[in-house]
């Protein structure tokens, strides 16, 4: 059995190349970007490209423990390639695929190793020995929430967990699942940048190739986007109700207004048409309305286009009404709309 203070081994760096210790290890190699096009290092670049291809095609990266050194170094190179694509789909998919791979390995790790890995991400985690409890770990609720808020199954809701003085009691498989989320978010954050050193032409070429690969193999709907026309019959019941209330000049709560505006903007209703809707409203002010709608639609301000809250949030705030059969199978009003359009 490993002792808790033992450092990670090289094999661990290959399995989990995003660890702080792995990054340190790579730094000691003192490899420069220009070195990557050196024929002696061809296998690094090849493996990096392969990592991305596997991510795009299979949503999981393979693990090659026969060539540990290449396995370790090819990770930061693949990260650079992913950034160079400037393609949000590729970035997301790559982070997910690396996390999926790490997860497969995590499932095989002993409890002590799991704790070390979690501590790499500064989790407050401890082994619990409470007899009579079917749990192996306690994790601070903050670490728990950070990694569960977009898991949809109700079992992940904090309210359904054993919470005591700030820690959540968890089983081994819960913790590995949470760690997978942590890894995915961690890599996504690393990819969330435009800043890159000047890359050799060969690397730019690979990035372009990856974009082509996505275009050829991934369906348009998966790469997102709604048709330009608004189909009212495909609105989910909550939006339908807000829309009707609104267009007849009834009062809507703040969150109701936001949900409706963000929904309509997200499915491509022109800003002017949304503002027209607001005109029926008794406290209508053209200036304020324009300001709010344009911000939510991402035309002004931060340019973030807001999306409506997910179903669960709408339930919390009492916006969810008359859920129908399709509602049972979706988690977001936009998904409802997309599914209904496909029918």
């Amino acid at each position: 059995m490993q002792r808790t203070f033992s450092a990670f081994a090289k094999n661990d760096y290959a399995k989990y190349p995003f660890l702080k210790a792995a990054i340190k290890h790579i730094q000691t190699l003192d490899l420069k970007i220009q070195d990557l096009i050196d024929p002696d290092n061809a296998s690094i670049l090849e493996r990096a490209q392969q990592r991305l291809e596997e991510a795009i095609l299979d949503s999981i990266v393979s693990l090659d423990l026969k060539h540990v050194d290449i396995e370790i170094v090819s990770f930061p190179v693949a990260v650079m390639l992913a950034i160079a694509t400037k393609d949000s789909f590729i970035k997301k998919r790559y982070a997910l695929a690396e996390a999926n791979r790490a997860y497969e390995e995590l499932l095989l790790e002993p409890r002590e190793k799991i704790i070390q890995l979690a501590e790499n991400f500064e989790w407050k985690i401890a082994a619990t020995h409470d007899s009579g409890l079917p749990y192996e770990f306690t994790v601070s609720f903050v670490d728990y929430l950070r990694n569960t808020t977009h898991l949809r199954e109700t079992q992940w809701k904090l309210v359904n967990r054993m919470l005591k003085t700030g820690t959540v009691y968890l089983r081994m498989d819960d913790v590995t699942r949470l760690l997978k989320e942590e890894v995915r978010r961690h890599i996504e954050q690393r990819l969330d940048t435009e800043e890159l050193p000047v890359l050799p032409a060969k690397m730019i070429e690979i990035a372009e190739k990856m974009k082509k690969l996505v275009e050829e193999t991934i369906g348009k709907t998966e790469r997102e986007g709604f048709p330009r026309t608004v189909t009212q019959t495909a609105f989910p019941p909550c939006i339908q109700s807000l829309y009707q209330a609104f267009s007849t000049g009834k009062h809507l709560s703040h969150i109701g207004r936001f949900t409706l505006t963000a929904f309509l903007a997200s499915i491509g209703m022109p800003t002017e048409s949304i503002i027209d809707l607001f005109k029926s409203f008794s406290d209508y002010s053209e200036r304020m309305t324009r300001y709010q709608v344009e911000h939510i639609a991402g035309e002004k301000g931060s340019r973030t286009r807001y999306v409506p809250p997910k179903c669960e949030t709408l339930k919390t705030h009492g916006v969810c009404v008359n859920p129908d059969e399709l509602c049972q199978r979706i988690y977001h009003p936009l998904t409802y709309y997309r599914r209904k359009l496909q029918r």
Partner: protein, 409 residues
């Protein structure tokens, strides 16, 4: 004197002589401040480097309401999306407006904005006369309302300490100055929580999305498995559910159960098995299956427990990571009360009609149109109907702020 000028003068005096922000106000320079004026406009995106600077501003501007952000920003004066959000305190609001109370809000007055039709109590969704939905409410800060809110706050604090593990130092309680309470959790670990994480916290406290089976307490298990209460440790909501059932069953009588919405048959079954249910909860070896309480009845009992144990907080406030909230020790324009901090140990005995009184000197003559009886600083007033009367300043300010009296002379 005009009534608005009177209130404004009193507020001016308060901010000049009595106001102080208090020592415990972390990172003032990173907060956004907002102010509502007596004229009805709103000033936002202000910031202050020091408490003195803020105090000077209040003396100078004499706002109707003063607010600060739960959020910390790099640049609090910038446009919303350029402020640079650094984190936020975790805040809670419990307001009697959102909770059913035994007074039934009979002291509240409402009037239809379209046709002028008026009434008392909980306002209707639509005007009974013209069906307009523009209903304006003139609420009253009644003792029953505020007491009801206090019960919810005590439940909330129990969640924050026992389940979330915050220390008493990290939790701060305030009376809002009107009909509710605010709670701040101020500690580094909560600052980065996003809106979704905060929503999970509110769902936890409201018991929303709770699945009984997560705790081995679904009706089917309780009705068919012996000793279902024995198998798991009482942690989290499981502990609360067990506690809630015990409370509800111990005090159960026909009237109570009916008020919780139980049918006659349910009520009879529960009362007949009261002892057995309590034994079951004690986890004693005598526990066994209870005839007459099937899966559905168990679910109803557990449901009742959850609704009794949850705290009725305003979910929108907690999930808004940019929220502006009333400033500590500032005056509430609807009452003339100040928002005051309550030491955790004093919450049970806290009396806002004493501790939140900002004006303690002088008398003012007012013409009261209508007001229910109320207590202020241990003195009882009213009820009043169309009468001229000399009142202590705080009582006069309250009635004028509420639009129920005019200053004379």
């Amino acid at each position: 004197m005009d009534s608005r000028a009177f209130v404004q003068n009193m507020f001016r005096e308060y901010y000049a002589k009595d106001f102080s922000l208090g020592e415990d106000f972390p990172s003032i320079e990173k907060r956004e401040f907002g102010f509502a004026s007596f004229g009805g406009w709103m000033l936002r995106h202000k910031s202050f480097k020091t408490a003195e600077e803020l105090e000077f501003f209040l003396q100078d501007s004499v706002p109707y309401g003063a607010y600060f952000s739960c959020a910390y920003y790099e640049d609090p004066e910038a446009d919303m999306n350029k402020k640079g959000w650094l984190g936020a305190d975790l805040i809670f609001d419990v307001d009697a407006d959102h909770i059913p109370t035994s007074c039934n809000k009979i002291h509240d007055e409402w009037v239809c904005g379209s046709c002028g039709f008026a009434g008392r109590g909980i306002e209707p969704e639509k005007c009974p006369s013209c069906s307009s939905e523009k209903i304006e409410v003139n609420s009253w800060p009644c003792e029953v309302c505020i007491e009801t809110a206090k019960v919810e706050i005590i439940k909330l604090v129990d969640f924050l300490v026992d389940d979330f593990g915050f220390s008493e130092k990290e939790i701060r309680l305030f009376f809002s100055g009107h009909r509710g309470y605010h709670v701040y959790v101020q500690t580094k670990s909560v600052e980065p929580l996003d809106a979704i994480a905060r929503k999970e916290i509110t769902d936890y406290i409201c018991g929303r999305g709770l699945r009984f089976s997560s705790f081995g307490l679904d009706g089917k298990v309780l009705a068919t498995k012996k000793g279902a209460f024995k198998v798991l440790a009482d942690l989290g909501w499981r502990r609360r559910i067990v506690r809630g059932i015990k409370d509800a069953i111990l005090n159960a009588d026909e009237q109570k159960l009916a008020s919780f919405g139980f049918s006659n048959a349910d009520t009879r079954a529960i009362l007949e098995n009261k002892e057995k249910i309590l034994i079951e909860l004690e986890k004693s070896d005598k526990a066994g299956l209870i005839k007459g309480i099937g899966p559905e009845r168990w679910e109803k009992i557990v449901n009742l427990s959850v609704s009794l144990q949850s705290a009725k907080i305003d979910t929108v406030v907690t999930t808004d990571v940019h929220r502006l909230i009333r400033l500590d020790n500032s005056l509430h324009g609807k009452t003339g009360f100040k928002k005051v901090e309550i030491p955790m140990s004093a919450i049970e005995d806290f009396d806002p009609f004493k501790s939140a009184v900002a004006f303690t000197k002088g008398e003012v003559t007012v013409l009261v149109s209508s007001a229910p009886a109320f207590k202020l600083d241990d003195e009882t007033f009213g009820p009043y109907k169309n009468q001229k009367i000399e009142l202590p300043t705080a009582a006069a300010v309250l009635l004028v702020c509420k639009g129920r009296a005019e200053v004379i002379g």
